[in-house]
Every structure is written in C-alpha cells, then in structure tokens.
C-alpha cells in the first residue's frame, strides 16, 4: 500500500462505498480539492431493475404481487399502493369491510416495520450511542443495553405481527390479498379476535418503546444537542398524507405539502401528483431526484425557493396538524413542544418514527375492535373499462406512488413508481454533502466522522431497494481514502448492523 505521506500533496478523493461488490447498494463519492478540502460529495445509486418497463404487458391485477417484489422489507407498502391504484384503474370502490381489512393489515405492517428499524437499524446509533465502540454498535449492543428479555420481547412482537399479516394476506413477505374493489377473503371472527389480542399488546409495546426512547435520548443532553446541530438540519418543504381533518394517515387521504415555515403550500389528490412533483435525473446516479414542480429543480439547495422536499416520519408529522388517536396525539404535541414546528432536524426522524409506531398500534386496535371487520362482503367486481389509476400510501420510509395506465383489457401500458427514497434523495445528498464538508478532509477521516455522515443518512432509513426498484434494505458503507491512482490510504467499513472497522 502506498504511504499517506508520499501522496499527501496529491489531489485526493474519498469513496464511501456500500460495498457494491457485495450488495450493490448506494455509494458516496467525495471529491477533494488540492488542499484536501471537500469540493463535492456525490450520493450515487448504482442499480436499476426496470420494473416500470417489464410491468408493461402484464395484467393490472398481477401488479400488487409483482411490484411487492421491488422490496422484501416493505412488500406490504407496494402491494397496498398497487391495490389502491387498481381501484382507481377499474373505477371500483372496495366494500367497507374490505377497506378496513386493508388498513388493519397495513397498520399491522407499519408497527412491525417501524419496530424493525427502531431496534435493528437505527437503534444502535442512539440507544448504544454514537461514541460507543463500533463492536457494540449493533443489534446485540442494543439488546445488551435494553436487556435480553426486551430483545426477546421485540423478536416475539415482530413474529406475532407478521403472523397476523399472513393470516389475512396469505403471506407476510409478498402478500396476496389485494384485488381491485376489495380483498381476496373476509376475516373470520377468530381472525378478528387474534388481531384484537395482538393489537392490545402492540399498543403496550409502542408505549414501552417510547419509554425507551425518552429515557436514552431525550434525557441525554449531548444527544439532543446533536439532533439540534446545524450539521443535521435542512430547512426544506415536507410532504405527507393527511385525512379530512389534516391528521396523519398512512392508508388513505390527500397529500399535503408544507413550506419550510410550516404553512400549507399544497394539498392534492394522489391522481394529480404529476402536477406537483417532478423527477430530475443526474448523469452520475441511477436514482431520480424528486422536487416540487412549481419551484423547479434548483440543484441541491434548501429554503423556500428550492423545490427540494422531504418525506418519511419527520416530514409526515410536519405535514399533519395532529394525530387521530389519543396516545399518539399526546406524543405528537410533546414532540413539537420540544422541537418547535416544523422540525427541520433530520435526526428527529427517529423520534417521529416512535410516535408513528404508537399511532399505527392504536389504529390497529381501533380497526380490530370494529364489528364491520368480519362482514363477509369484501369484493366489488369491477365492471368499468380500465384506463388509468394512481395509488398512494405512506410507506414506513415515506410517500409511495404507483401510477398505471392500461389498455381496455387491463394490460399495463405505462407504469410509474415514485418511492420514498426518491422524494428524499435530494435531501439525503445534501445531508451527506453537508456532513462531509463540515467534517471530512484528507487528513481528517475517522470513525466518528464516518458515523456522523452515516447517521445523517440512516435517519431516513433509506431503502435503495425501493429507490432503484432493485435492492432493499439497510445501508452498509465503505469509506476509502485513496490517492488519484486509486491506492487506498485509509479504509473504513461500516456494516448494516452499525459496526465500524478500520482495515
């Protein structure tokens, strides 16, 4: 290996690479100037699968199952967005029971997925702590911190929730219950009883989780300062789904965009998304960057003039005026009481996620208790000629659009998918660029910095599987400092569990 001093004068570059040789995920490329200061940091997504292309010619009714294969982590989100797109495509409304079963399953999924991220992916950063030794900064470290029985509690909770999804949707990974105008089968009284039982546990569990978060984060001044620090603050627009009273909703409603100052900038039906959202392509990434159409693409800038906006938990809370369930509403008020509204602090996403976890659990319980849920009428057969439909849900990681056009036989002729990480892509790039500029230089590369960059990134729980319609999941990273011949000067790895190691 070439020595650092020998090449110190040379122009350098840092590649933060999520080990593409392994997973082919996202990739960060930092260009340094002559003095070794960061000149530009690129966030690249190196893969593309073309679901939108090979969707063409497929029967519309197969889309909920085909598109769920975009991501095995959040298949239910794609399945549901797709199913809702089919309702519109075939111009048919599901019967009340079917609508409720869908939202029940969806809420169950939100509880399960947010749990996964809180304990397995994001957790290590703040429960174990950013400064803790890398070896501990993983799920095992989390369990060590919160206790083994809690660890088992988490595992058991996930299992129960996922079994419920199978019960109603056939399968958990890649469900099969969504049909235009309804769901494949009604819930029996026994099924509903199980849902009620687990829902009650889920609410408790959510409150428990909230307790954990408040104990280890809110009471930790250092951590709160980090959350508030400018390094992790971007004043952008936010988008999220809201119900009739502008309250948070994951399954259905209008989309609401609030400006950096918090005022409602737009409120629209999913079908009109193309009038509000545009996609911008860069030559150095397969991922397209969403922005607000009216404001146009101003580059990676924040502020009211830039079209850059964010989605995901923090954005959702910013975009909503409240939450429909009591316990979550109370947590919502506390959240903005502390951070002010709108909250621009990227790391607050973790807190917002816990509040959403609580809401999802409460909503799950409401629906499980609803007597209509076992009504056998769960199908309305489509009669209209299929044409075009847009379906939207709030996926765990943010707003998810499925937009289909079909011929008269319901064979897909055009398919457009916009996933959470695409909405967030610009904001993520900015976060990385900002973190890099603030922290990195040729002579100054260490775990701490790396994990800082990491955290800006991870707060979004970005799913590049969805983003590229190709690969899922969490974000292992590799940072290498090389000279311009590509000789590695320094190399640090960070894996999906949060462990960071210098090679």
């Amino acid at each position: 290996m070439a020595s650092a001093t020998a090449t110190a004068a040379r122009q350098r570059r840092i590649i933060i690479d999520p080990i593409t040789r392994l997973e082919g995920h996202g990739k960060i490329d930092i260009i340094l100037d002559e003095e070794g200061r960061v000149e530009r940091a690129y966030f690249q997504v190196p893969e593309l699968r073309g679901f939108e292309k090979f969707a063409q010619g497929r029967p519309a009714e197969s889309m909920p199952q085909i598109t769920s294969r975009i991501c095995g982590v959040c298949p239910t989100a794609h399945h549901m967005a797709s199913t809702k797109a089919l309702d519109r495509l075939y111009q048919v409304e599901p019967p009340p029971a079917a609508r409720k079963i869908r939202e029940l399953v969806y809420s169950t999924f939100m509880v399960e997925d947010h749990t996964l991220h809180f304990y397995f992916l994001g957790g290590p950063d703040f429960i174990v702590g950013p400064e803790a030794p890398a070896a501990q900064r993983n799920v095992l470290g989390v369990i060590a911190k919160v206790g083994i029985e809690t660890g088992q509690k988490v595992i058991a909770m996930r299992r129960k929730l996922r079994e419920l999804i199978s019960l109603a949707a056939g399968k958990t990974v890649h469900p099969v219950f969504g049909l235009p105008g309804g769901v494949a089968k009604p819930l029996t009284a026994e099924d509903a009883a199980q849902f009620r039982h687990v829902a009650a546990e889920a609410v408790e569990f959510a409150q428990f989780t909230r307790g954990v978060f408040e104990k280890v984060v809110l009471k930790d001044q250092e951590y709160m300062d980090l959350i508030r620090s400018d390094l992790f603050t971007h004043r952008t627009y936010y988008m999220g789904m809201v119900d009739g009273q502008n309250r948070l909703n994951f399954y259905d409603g209008d989309l609401r965009v609030v400006a950096p100052d918090g005022h409602e900038w737009a409120r629209f039906d999913a079908a009109d998304y193309a009038e509000y959202i545009a996609e911008h392509a860069e030559p150095w990434s397969y991922m397209k960057f969403c922005h607000l159409k009216a404001l146009g693409w101003q580059g990676f800038k924040e502020g009211a003039e830039s079209g850059v906006y964010g989605v995901a938990p923090l954005a959702r809370l910013n975009a909503a005026d409240g939450i429909a369930t009591p316990q979550a509403q109370e947590a919502y008020l506390h959240f903005f009481g502390v951070l002010g509204k709108p909250a621009h602090h990227t790391l607050a996403n973790h807190w917002a996620r816990v509040i959403e976890l609580l809401y999802a659990a409460e909503r799950m319980k409401e629906l499980a208790d609803d007597p209509d849920i076992i009504d056998p009428e769960v199908r309305n057969l489509p009669t209209a000629t299929p044409r075009e439909g847009v379906g939207v849900v709030e996926a765990p990681r943010g707003t998810l659009f499925h937009h289909y056009q079909s011929d008269g036989r319901g064979l897909i002729t055009k398919c457009n998918l916009i996933v959470a990480t695409q909405h967030n892509a610009a904001r993520i790039s900015m976060a990385i660029d900002q973190a890099a500029r603030g922290l990195v230089s040729a002579t100054h590369v260490n775990e701490g910095l790396l994990n800082m960059v990491e955290m800006a990134f991870r707060a979004y729980d970005p799913c590049l599987g969805c983003a590229t319609h190709s690969l899922p999941g969490s974000m292992p990273l590799l940072v290498r400092v090389c000279d311009d011949r590509g000789n590695v000067l320094t190399s640090l790895r960070r894996d999906a569990d949060g462990g960071i190691h210098r090679d």
Partner: protein, 312 residues
C-alpha cells in the same frame, strides 16, 4: 467445532433475508448450532475475510438473488470457491425470479423508459478529471446455476419458514440428499392443498376467469372455479399459503423434479383441460389467460429454455 455457514445475497429484494429472520425465536437455535462466518446484512464480516478463507472452508453457503451484474457474478464465484456446499436460496437464485421478467426487455429499453431522452446516467461521469463510475448491468438476468455450480436449491418467493428450517436441518446432517436436488417435496402443491378433495375428477374448463372477475369460494379448488391456479404444476412445500389467502398459486416454488421448463409444462397442462375443439371455441377461453408469459413464467423466465425474449 461448529460448521461454518454463510448467507449471501445477489440481485434480490431482501425477502429471502426476511424469510430467515422469520425463523424468529428459532433463529437463535440456528445461530447456536452453527458458526455464521458471513452475513453482510446482519453480521460484521467482510469480503476480505472470505477471501482469506481456505477454499471449501465454508460448509454451507446460502445464496439468494439472481445474477445481473459483473459484481454479483464475481462475488458468487468467490463464495462458490470458498464453500463446500452452495445452495441457491429462493426463487430468484433458483429460477431468476420476478426481476427475471426483465428478460422480456433490454437495459436500453429500461433506461429509455425511465429517463426518456433527457439526462441519462453514464457508466462514467467526469468531475474535473475524477471519474465517477456506475456498474454495467448485463442484458439478461441469470439464475445462479447458469453462472456457477449449485449443489442444492431452496425454492420459494420467499421460501416458507418450514422449508427454511427443514433445509438447514438437512444440510447440516448426514447423509446429504442427492446433489442437485431441490430441498422440498417432489410433488405438486395440490398434494398439500386444503381444497384437494373439493372437486370431481372431470376437470374441464369452459372459461378462464381473471382473478378480479370472480368472487372465489373459499372452500373449492380454485382451478375448478375457472381461475388459473398453477398449484398442479408447482412444487409443494409452501403450505399452500396463497390458497389459504384465497388466491391462486402463481408458481413461486417452481417445477417438480421431472419438469424442465416450468412455464411450458404449466401452459401445456392448463391448455389441455379446456373445452372446445376448434379455434373458434378455444380462443375465447384462452382470453382468460391474458398474459401467457407473465402467467406461466412469472418466476422462471431466466431458467426457461428460451431464457429471454428472442430477436432484437
């Protein structure tokens, strides 16, 4: 000393990883029974650790996902070299999977679909003298065994928890099954279908319904109700999950042992049982199968005889 086990993913959606996590409490038993030396998504071991191992040092490697880029091929070859037993885990690795439907099109067509004539990602982008690279994608998606030798297959999209547990047990015990075998029953799904006794032996289809065209009775054979169900052509082992969801089998477990081209066989069978002895009577029935390729090759196009769309 505990056997070394590795999990690795190529072009997959992560559902197979979830399938392993869905062992839930059992995962702890697995972890205690073996020595997991490589699991990028969950544990902290690196490629170079793998490179450092002696060839064949890994007892069992479970690889999910298809091959669609040179990187994935490289890694698959590395893992192959280091492993005594390599298992294609899940539909994508075994058959190509749903992303394999990309073989109906080309990378060029995909790029055009997504980016139109505007800015396009470049394999190499220059930032004053610094090249940013994006990996080249193959024109086709390939199942694992078209690229590297595969010892066993675990079917499913994703494999059901039961299949995963059984597979791990079998692979870690003696004697091993015949090389090349699929670690699931060599029988079709009907064998374990709760509705298998719900219809009489005269299976005759006068009309194929698309699934949204008909409210399915929850107790009767779905195929007998006229909705194309691929259960008869599909390997058992999933526990008829989709059927219990009152939806037809779409074939994610792939063919049984004596079938070489899943889609061809399934098509042959579903066409045989319709009524109608002339084109005029036959064609309207077939209209219920709106998308033959997407129906019969939903998971297996890259492993079919034709592999991809022909011509250019």
């Amino acid at each position: 000393m505990k056997p070394k086990v590795a999990f690795y993913w190529c072009a997959s959606c992560g559902g197979c990883e979830e399938a392993i996590l869905d062992l839930a409490e059992d995962i702890l038993n697995v972890v205690s029974a073996v020595d997991i030396v490589f699991w990028p998504v969950a544990l902290d071991f690196k490629e170079k650790d793998v490179e450092a191992m002696a060839d064949g040092a890994i007892e069992v490697a479970l690889v999910n996902g298809a091959i669609r880029s040179a990187h994935q091929l490289q890694m698959a070859q590395l893992v192959r070299r280091k492993s005594r037993i390599l298992v294609a885990f899940g539909a994508c690795a075994q058959l190509g999977g749903i992303p394999g439907l990309a073989n109906l099109t080309t990378t060029g067509e995909i790029l055009h679909e997504v980016y139109g004539d505007g800015t396009r990602p470049q394999l190499e982008f220059q930032h004053d003298g610094q090249a940013l690279n994006l990996p080249k994608l193959f024109e086709s998606v390939y199942p694992l065994d078209r690229m590297i030798p595969v010892d066993y297959y675990v079917p499913g999209c994703p494999p059901s928890p039961r299949i995963v547990a059984d597979a791990l047990r079998v692979l870690l015990s003696d004697p091993l099954p015949d090389p090349g075998s699929v670690l699931a029953p060599d029988r079709a799904l009907c064998d374990e279908c709760p509705r298998k006794d719900s219809h009489d032996p005269e299976l005759k289809i006068d009309r194929y319904y698309r699934v949204q065209e008909r409210v399915l009775d929850t107790g009767t054979c779905i195929l007998a109700q006229g909705v194309p169900c691929l259960g008869p052509a599909t390997r058992a082992g999933c526990g008829a999950r989709c059927i219990s969801g009152n939806m037809p089998c779409t074939g994610c477990f792939g063919p049984s042992g004596r079938v070489r081209d899943y889609g061809g066989k399934a098509l042959c069978s579903l066409a045989s049982i319709i009524s109608g002895n002339d084109a005029g009577a036959i064609d309207p029935i077939l209209d219920g199968l709106a998308d033959p390729v997407g129906t019969f090759y939903r998971y297996s196009l890259p492993s079919s005889f034709l592999q991809r769309k022909q011509g250019e």
